[in-house]
């Protein structure tokens, strides 16, 4: 979700196999560089593989270009990598959030074969995506400060995952501003 010169990216913490919960501290939001984060929902193994490949590509880019990747460029990279596997896809739906030129917030999501969806306010993915759309739409306001953004994102996340039996068991929220990153674990219903 986009705020005023900042963005928030959040996920739930469940690792499960259909009805069985394996862990309640699984990380789904990963840092690419200080101002770029990617959240990967879907199949955990593909999320891990994709993250490792993306970090590899970004490190190579950093060596060649001697700078960090812009969020728009990174989104195109992810899209291309996913489409490479068009007929045997990674079962992941990424959410990309970053601060671009002049610390302008950038967010986008894509489906598992790389169809980019840019937005100015918020993007969602996962099993509770429909609930998340509803919750975010009603709670979102433009130009929220980091503190208010954190509240909004946390409330929207908790409300949505509580209606989804496959998501939840806490929340993990990152608030990224040009100067700092706040990482918080949100206590939620453990069911």
């Amino acid at each position: 979700m986009v705020g005023k010169n900042c963005f928030a990216i959040a996920s739930d913490r469940r690792l499960g196999v259909q009805l069985q919960t394996i862990a309640t501290d699984f990380q789904r939001v990963f840092k690419i560089h200080d101002k770029l984060y990617i959240g990967l929902s879907g199949l955990a193994t593909d999320a891990q593989t994709l993250y490792q490949r993306l970090v590899f590509r970004h490190k190579l880019y950093q060596l060649r270009e001697e700078r960090d990747m812009k969020p728009e460029t990174f989104a195109s990279l992810v899209s291309a990598m996913l489409y490479e596997r068009r007929f045997g896809p990674y079962f992941c739906q990424p959410v990309i959030a970053g601060l671009g030129e002049n610390d302008e917030p950038f967010i986008c999501t894509m489906d598992c074969i790389g169809a980019k969806e840019l937005a100015k306010d918020f993007v969602v993915s996962g099993t509770s995506s429909e609930s998340l759309y509803g919750a975010c739409e009603s709670m979102y306001k433009p130009n929220m400060e980091p503190e208010e953004l954190f509240e909004t994102v946390s409330q929207a996340l908790m409300a949505s995952v509580d209606r989804d039996c496959l998501a939840g068991w806490g929340g993990h929220v990152f608030i990224v501003t040009p100067t700092e990153v706040q990482e918080r674990v949100v206590k939620g219903r453990m069911d």
């Binding site: 690792l15 394996i22 862990a23 699984f26 955990a44 193994t45 891990q48």
Partner: protein, 210 residues
Amino acid sequence: MECVMGVVGRDFAVVAADTSAVQSILVHKTDEDKVMVLDSHKLMGASGEPGDRVQFTEYIQKNLHLYQFRNTIPLSTAATANFTRGELATALRKNPYMVNVILGGYDKDAGASLYYIDYIATLHKIDKGAFGYGSYFCLSLMDKLYHPDMTVEEAVDLIDKCIKEIRLRLVVAPQNFVIKIVDKNGAREYARRDLVGDNASVDAATTVTA
């Protein structure tokens, strides 16, 4: 019907597995060791397709030894877990290994650690975990009874409670189990829990364990 489980305690990790080798309705053997000692301070409990299980765990073990020969130092538990995940992930979309792994190890700097790696290469560091039908009974028992920094006696007692539950509540339950431990002194077999077979006590066959 195969069960593998693991628990982390204070500076040690316990990995336990059943020891039945089953094909359809026939139990081939009741003392099949499914917790492989990878090297001096690592245990890999594996369950799944029998051929894949043996082949994959031996492959990991030999690669670990090769690394040690080449580099004179052993691979850490975290690195081993990531290597194992990498091998499973690479094979996943070609010729997958149907093997679920609980990897337990002890490192001087990191202490004891336990990793959950399922057959589609999902890797997660855990304090307690289990695979198989037994996990439906064990995981909630572990959630209730586990606490951080358990002693060896407490951890083995937890495993024993899980084994008792599996024996009691799982239809066609495996009867015999092996418990292995890894701590700063190394990886070794801690105990066997045999109810049937050559090594079971006479009492085990005649008394009812409730």
